[in-house]
Symmetry: C2
Subunit: 129 residues, 2 copies
């Protein structure tokens, strides 16, 4: 598919898709006329990139770990560069920290919302049917 269709399928503007290519995150092939052409599996990859960027992972890191996020790895694993494992462990731990942090604070927010709701229902108790 071409860039417009991918943009439409992912909700990510074409402009941003070109930017991600510039950052080494997605590498489409080219048609004879120079147009970018994307395989279907890149729809998921683009969404993955968006989610990771939104979660505060820098693009530099994303480009390192992206190949490790696609499921059937098998081949890639052999002759992994020496630093890779260490990088992955570091980033995984960082992600775990983020998860813990977000979870804790999300739960605080949830409790606060409940408190608002209870305060509201107390103020004007259920009365009608």
């Amino acid at each position: 598919m071409r860039i417009g269709e991918l943009a439409q399928k992912t909700g990510v503007p074409a402009r941003m898709l070109r930017y991600y290519e510039e950052q080494g995150l997605i590498s489409p092939r080219r048609l004879d006329n120079g147009y970018r052409t994307y395989d279907d599996y890149l729809v998921d990859r683009v969404k993955k990139v968006r989610g990771l960027v939104d979660s505060g992972i820098p693009t530099r890191i994303i480009s390192s770990i992206l190949p490790c996020l696609d499921q059937p790895q098998t081949i890639v694993v052999r002759n992994a560069e020496p630093g890779l494992r260490e990088l992955l462990v570091t980033e995984r731990d960082r992600m775990s920290e983020k998860i813990d942090f977000l979870t804790h604070n999300r739960d605080s927010i949830t409790r606060y919302i409940q408190a608002i709701d209870e305060a509201g229902s107390q103020e004007r108790p259920l009365r009608a049917g």
Copy 2:
């Protein structure tokens, strides 16, 4: 405590603490000589801010939700502005998305690390004692 001590306790440079104040995230009182002075509970608040920023929450949002993250709320809840509940729900849902996303990808990374380890041990099987 003054800014240097807070910086030391939180690991956040004094420069950044001033920046966070500029962004409305932390509002220390001032001594007669103009020095900032921080209460003890701000140590936790600073760490919270760091975690949230690292997780991709914009400071503008953080400043809105910070008051709702401290545990004994009770008083604050009453006469909450009308938009607040909606904002909180939106942000909570966004945080949940991030959590799911990070969890999914972290697990992929973990599996990949395991695959590396297994590939390594297969390549050079346990042989010596």
